[in-house]
């Protein structure tokens, strides 16, 4: 009896010692985990902070208020009313005249030219559009906000160091004086930059927008989603539920897994060879981009869909079969709906990867300089990540903030997609 209680005490002692050890191990493990999460979060904050800090200013654009006299002598000297003739008129001259009136003391070709440089070349386009929309305006004087040049924009946003010697600045001292005078008159203002979202690329940073890139990306995503999701789900259902389990299905399985690991640029080459060279589809078109990205995301979707089909409990299948559902009915009434959240998650992950992909798009010519908005998936377009790449490569200071702004838009796209994924999963998820 004494022996037993003694050994019991010993056991207790041992357990206690090992418990202390176990707890210490657990605490250490928890600490490592928390530390790595904090580290990861810091990196994310750093990344987002720098992108946002650099990019948010691009959402505002400096505008200049001018009193424009729509001079019939310049716009339509012969009073034809013909839009073709009106369209060819020199509208930039109208803006230049009005600017010159504000600074009557400026004379001489060089000074006049440096004064005119404060205006964006987009000012002329804007006036032209106004008149083409409403020819009645000819002969009237209107007070309008017109885009300023990107250098003015940079100065107003505080990116230009005024203390630098004149030679190492793009804006000369006189120009800065003029800008300050305009600002004092309340004729310089930062306004929300709608053009950034609606226009295409441009050599002039103040006119460049992500509209065409975003639309190109959207077209591609729609094509990719509408092809890869049904195809991927169909393949997964077939492989899981119908395909005989033999050597061939093994080979197919191994190959799908391999395809998921193939570098994306290889898909670009494939697209170039097959879709463009063989099928003769147009270069730079979102259609081809979408097809290439479909090929790229299919393996991911198939793998995710198969995994989620596998995870549907067999009891549900048995229940359906046992009351006389056919195999098809069992699959489409029960298995697929239950696997849907997993399939959707896989699809969204694949789509998110496709959205951020640029390498295969370079191969199929989607790196072109696209000013116009694509109106169909067959029109030349570019994509958001490619646009980021293009702008990051441009020397103008103003493109730097636009690069960051484009990244912000790309991230917002991703956030929206992930949000949609979570929402869909919640919607389809069922309690057991």
């Amino acid at each position: 009896m004494g022996n037993l209680s003694q050994s019991r005490a010993q056991t207790l002692e041992k357990v206690r010692a090992s418990l202390a050890l176990r707890y210490r191990k657990e605490r250490r493990f928890r600490f490592y985990g928390a530390a790595s999460v904090v580290f990861g979060l810091l990196l994310v904050i750093l990344l987002f902070g720098s992108i946002f800090g650099n990019g948010y200013t691009a959402f505002w654009q400096t505008q200049m208020q001018l009193d424009i006299y729509f001079d019939p002598q310049i716009i339509d000297p012969d009073n034809t009313g013909d839009p073709k003739i009106i369209g060819r008129a020199n509208f930039a001259k109208l803006a230049r005249h009005s600017l010159a009136e504000l600074f009557p003391e400026v004379s001489g070709r060089r000074d006049r030219r440096s004064l005119n440089a404060l205006l964006s070349s987009g000012a002329g386009f804007q006036l032209r559009k106004m008149i083409l929309n409403d020819p009645e305006l000819i002969g009237e004087t209107l007070r309008l906000w017109l885009p300023a040049d990107d250098e003015v924009d940079m100065l107003v946003k505080g990116y230009v160091d005024r203390t630098l010697p004149q030679g190492s600045r793009r804006l000369k001292d006189r120009q800065i004086e003029w800008i300050d005078e305009l600002a004092a008159q309340g004729r310089i203002e930062r306004q929300f930059n709608t053009a950034f979202f609606t226009s295409g690329d441009s050599r002039e940073p103040e006119l460049a927008g992500i509209g065409s890139a975003a639309k190109g990306s959207l077209f591609m995503l729609l094509i990719t989603l509408s092809l890869s999701f049904p195809l991927g789900v169909a393949v997964a259902v077939y492989l899981e539920e119908f395909a005989p389990k033999n050597r061939w299905s093994n080979i197919i399985e191994v190959n799908i897994n391999n395809l998921a690991a193939v570098p994306s640029i290889v898909y670009g080459l494939l697209g170039l060879a097959v879709f463009i060279n063989f099928f003769g589809l147009p270069r730079s078109a979102p259609l081809v981009g979408g097809l290439v990205l479909t090929l790229m995301t299919l393996p991911t979707i198939i793998i995710a869909a198969r995994a989620s089909i596998k995870s549907v409990p067999p009891s549900v299948r048995e229940a359906a079969l046992s009351i006389g559902a056919s195999r098809m009915q069992t699959i489409f009434h029960h298995v697929v709906p239950l696997a849907m959240p997993g399939m959707l998650t896989g699809a969204i992950i694949g789509m998110a990867r496709a959205l951020g992909e640029s390498a295969p798009l370079l191969m199929i010519g989607m790196i072109a300089f696209i000013v116009e908005m694509p109106s169909t998936p067959m029109d030349p377009a570019t994509a958001l990540p490619v646009q980021v790449y293009l702008w990051a490569d441009s020397p103008e200071r103003a493109f730097a903030e636009r690069t960051s702004a484009a990244i912000i838009v790309l991230l917002v796209f991703l956030l929206v997609m992930n949000g949609a994924a979570i929402w869909l999963r919640k919607k389809f998820e069922r309690r057991w």
Partner: protein, 303 residues
Amino acid sequence: MQKFMTTMEAVRNDSPTVPPSTVTTELPAVKSTGKTTIDSKKHQTVGDVTASNPVFTVRDCNVYYGEKQALQNVNLDIGRNEVVALIGPSGCGKSTFIRCLNRMNDTIDSARVSGEIKLYGEDIYARDMDVVLLRARVGMVFQKPNPFPKSIYENVAYGPRLHGLSSNRAELDEIVRDSLERAGLWNEVKDRLDDPGTGLSGGQQQRLCIARTIAVNPEVILMDEPCSALDPIATAHIEDLIDELTENYAIAIVTHSMQQAARVSQRTAYFHLGKLIEVDATNKVFTNPGHKLTEDYVTGRFG
């Protein structure tokens, strides 16, 4: 019937693929004769395997999972308006047996069934047998309640809708209500038919599964340990239900509870290591078993 009994004597198992564990198991002699031994070469079931008014007739049924034989030469009838209890130690093939009756074994790739299983004289393993139709006629309730992750109403309505048993919503409502009433669940769920079926308690879920099964109006109901996850009250509910169901259905129920078998069944079949050892009227099996193995089992001397 008599003629059949004689053929039964000659039933042989000539499967060479039986693993040694099954073949060499020491099986004691039948009590009544004290001479016949049951081994893999020659095996006869004690008692009367036939029913006077059979729905199912199973003859010479062998089931293999790959190389492993799970059932050997099983012969058994299931009669109309009768409950047959299937008892026996774990792994003896009870589930395998009832899963043959609605061809659920088809879903297991490695499973192979031989022999003759007839539903009202129709071979259910025949080529032209429609499995979907068979399963509509032979319902099944599983050990673990497995309602669909849908509403209570949808759970019950699924089968009738599948088979087109109702032409409009009112008829469907009627079927759902009737099935839930017969399963003894109506009063508990009538106010929350749109709640998920998975939100019910275990016993309620099992009754929901029973309602789902009887909603398609089958001829036979197979139950594989329907009460194993339930408390005594829920079990009593289901046993009452089985009593009522006997009026209209033939029922085969697998159970590990001797008391339950005694309470609900008219005949009892005892399985042992893939063989059907004894079949007889339930009170005979429990009070005066004809085979040593059965006696050991029902008296609790065996696992």
